[in-house]
Point group: C2
């Protein structure tokens, strides 16, 4: 196999150094096992990807496609003896078309690079996962990444118009279209979005861009209890308000952020709600402020300019690096119906008490998408075991509330059993039949998702 | 088969009267053949649908699912000896949940009925196909219907959260979820959206509702040439403007509408552009008005109140009934990149001259989605033949421009060959493999789409 890969690819694109392989064996998911890869390949174009897949198909070798390995579900983790296919050498922005508002990119382009290129034309690429400065568009599409803008602007799949994909056969397929609308045939683009490398290797992506929204007006509301904060979110949604951002930071994260980078956050609060409106209508943020106060906010602080607003968002973006300093973090990701956010926050707190572990929660509150971050001592098996039990309890709670085991991080290895639980045997059989139809030899990221 | 259907369904739900069957044999597509159905069934719930599908599977009978038969591609046309499965007895709105902004409906509910029910909570169901007062949500989902709001708010698939589907096996699957976000497993919801009854029978739909937007400000701009009108659309898009409506009516339609319902439209204009903005920021419509004037509009008329704005939209909605009075209308539906709208309009005009047929165009201009309506004399074979040739030429032109053979009406019977041309053999093989995986006996609307 190595011989054939070397024959098909440039000299520096086939790597077998054990240190390099070890570095590339896993993404950022905790709790997930990773195997030992046979080789790392770094193809530079679609033809080279197709050559890799043909070699894999002919030798029955599993292929694990990787972007920046910032994923949180183990989807990019190595399988014993696999080919790791890195898209990082395919990092060109091929075209920005401002009139049709599209960007044509290779999969290894970093998310933020697209918005930077589009900004010259007054446009942006909306989806903004926490990893936007490092994760790749290919990975974003493969996991259908979310972010803070989703509450108003939706997730990755809403922004993918056309895909070029190398199939399990090594054939190159283009699906979707560059027009704003189109309903010709099955929606293969959306099938590949979120399929985590199990159906094909994405080699070119046509993204929908959008005009850069107006400067958002931003506020921070301090709540004495998570129940009150949850009630505020429910009230904002029920009032028909359309915030461009609605994020919750709990007390554990507030204290961790303030310790990490002191900025005057109220660490006595039970929760901070960040809300923004980019509608251009000032009354819209007034309404959100009033609803926060009615729900029991003890203080509502409005950013007076863009710099202050950016500082509030920067605090939110520090939540993960800040909490990582407290121990090993098991990042969870569940979504519940928005109306049950407060109840879910209470449930997480009860889970933490029950298992004697510390859990902080940040939430894309407007979407009902919670990230309970479970802090464990990786050197203490009892602590890890308690963390895992809490992780499972939180997932069970989300499903019992009519929610989902993953709002935006994906299934990968981490949540295969939970997906089966959530989807049920009939929908799982349909997914399996699609997988088998598109990858009959089972070479594409086998054992992930399903 | 009839015996078994009668055993499984209520007495009045199995119809074999030839007149009734003839009435239900086709949708509103011109140019499409329809077969003779064996029976029409009107199940009242999911269990009855499943029973019908089990009978069909066991007897190898094709099943054609129908909503209101307002489709324009022949997808709902009968196949010889088929079971016509009408969803019209499944027309209940099961739930409106204003906090989570969802509606749970049966497939036979009429589109406009959802928005009427949601309006009591300040919400609406956004997608608004021309048939919104008669077409069903099940049909809208099966064809991934569009409408006038798409330019800002997207198409049906963006508003479907969860589906209950009876599969070809008769099993009942639920896919998707009621949360605002979720990435657990393959996106089966979007696979079923637009699959035109070929993969399953949709029996329950959870729709995303949205707050009713602010009252839109509306203008009508009169252009001396379609090229100028197309240039205005391009300029509006390129400027980063986000109109909530951007529709074009050509001279053929303007005259037909004014003849049908005189309302003072300028019938000497080559094209009328209707634009609206519901951002709540008045300057946004000012910008659109200025761009229309710069592009050569001879008059820009702004509606002074909601009544006037509604009158302008009513004129647009009369385009189809008005033009139907001129002859038999072959409705086409192509989309091109927005930047090529003017070129496409010129191409349609050239096609009309070349074939000696009259073609009027209405367009969801902001989406690059054109409806060239070809007017023929159905009693004159030469006229019909010229109309068909023009229809094909328009499709060829759209594909040559990087467009699609159907922007929102679907493939059905009408555009199967064009889909194959547009998608190419590899993407067609993938679609076929999915169809075979989900419907191995080929009983679900066989011969449609693929």
């Amino acid at each position: 196999m190595l011989e054939r890969l070397r024959a098909a690819l440039p000299p520096n694109a086939v790597l077998t150094d054990p240190d390099i392989l070890a570095t590339h064996a896993r993404d950022e998911a905790g709790l997930c096992e990773a195997g030992t890869p046979a080789v790392l390949v770094r193809p530079e174009n679609t033809e080279q990807v197709a050559a890799v897949i043909r070699v894999a198909a002919e030798t029955g070798t599993p292929v694990v496609t990787q972007g920046a390995r910032t994923g949180l579900s183990g989807a990019a983790n190595a399988i014993d003896g696999c080919v790791l296919l890195s898209t990082q050498a395919m990092n060109k922005i091929i075209e920005i078309d401002p009139v049709n508002r599209i960007a044509v990119v290779q999969p290894g382009v970093v998310n933020a690079a697209v918005s930077r290129a589009a900004a010259e034309h007054g446009l942006r690429y909306a989806p903004d996962p926490g990893s936007f400065e490092s994760s790749t568009i290919g990975g974003n599409v493969a996991t259908n990444a979310g972010g803070m803008c989703c509450v108003k602007y939706g997730v990755t799949t809403e922004y993918v118009l056309e895909l070029e994909v190398v199939l399990a056969s090594g054939e190159v397929m283009t699906c979707g279209r560059r027009t704003a609308k189109g309903v010709a045939g099955y929606d293969l683009v959306r099938l590949f979005c979120g399929s985590e490398g199990t159906l094909g290797v994405i080699t070119r992506i046509v993204l929908k861009l959008q005009p850069i929204p107006r400067q958002a007006l931003t506020l921070a509301a301090v709540f004495p209890s998570t129940t009150d904060a949850g009630a505020a979110v429910t009230a904002i949604t029920a009032a028909g308000s359309v915030p461009s951002l609605l994020e919750l930071i709990d007390d554990v994260h507030l204290r961790a952020i303030e310790d990490y980078r002191p900025m005057g956050l109220d660490t006595s609060a039970a929760a901070l709600l960040l809300a923004a409106s980019d509608s251009g209508v000032e009354a819209d943020l007034d309404e959100i402020a009033a609803l926060c106060e009615e729900a029991g906010a003890t203080e509502v602080y409005r950013a007076t300019d863009a710099t202050e607003a950016d500082a509030l968002l920067a605090a939110r973006r520090l939540a993960y690096p800040a909490i990582e300093r407290l121990g090993t973090v098991i990042v969870d990701d569940v979504a519940v119906p928005r109306s049950r956010l407060a109840e879910a926050l209470d449930g997480v707190a009860a889970t933490a008490r029950r298992h004697g572990v510390k859990i902080g929660v940040i939430a894309h509150a407007g979407d009902g998408n919670l990230h309970p971050n479970i802090i464990v001592d990786s050197a203490d098996p009892d602590s890890v075991s308690a963390g895992r039990a809490a992780f499972d309890d939180i997932m069970r709670m989300a499903l019992d509330m009519g929610g989902t085991c993953t709002g935006e991080h994906g299934v990968g290895l981490l949540k295969r059993d939970w997906l089966a639980d959530e989807a049920g045997p009939i929908a799982m059989a349909v997914q399996r039949s699609i997988k088998d139809a598109l990858d009959p030899l089972g070479i594409l990221n086998p054992g992930k998702v399903l």
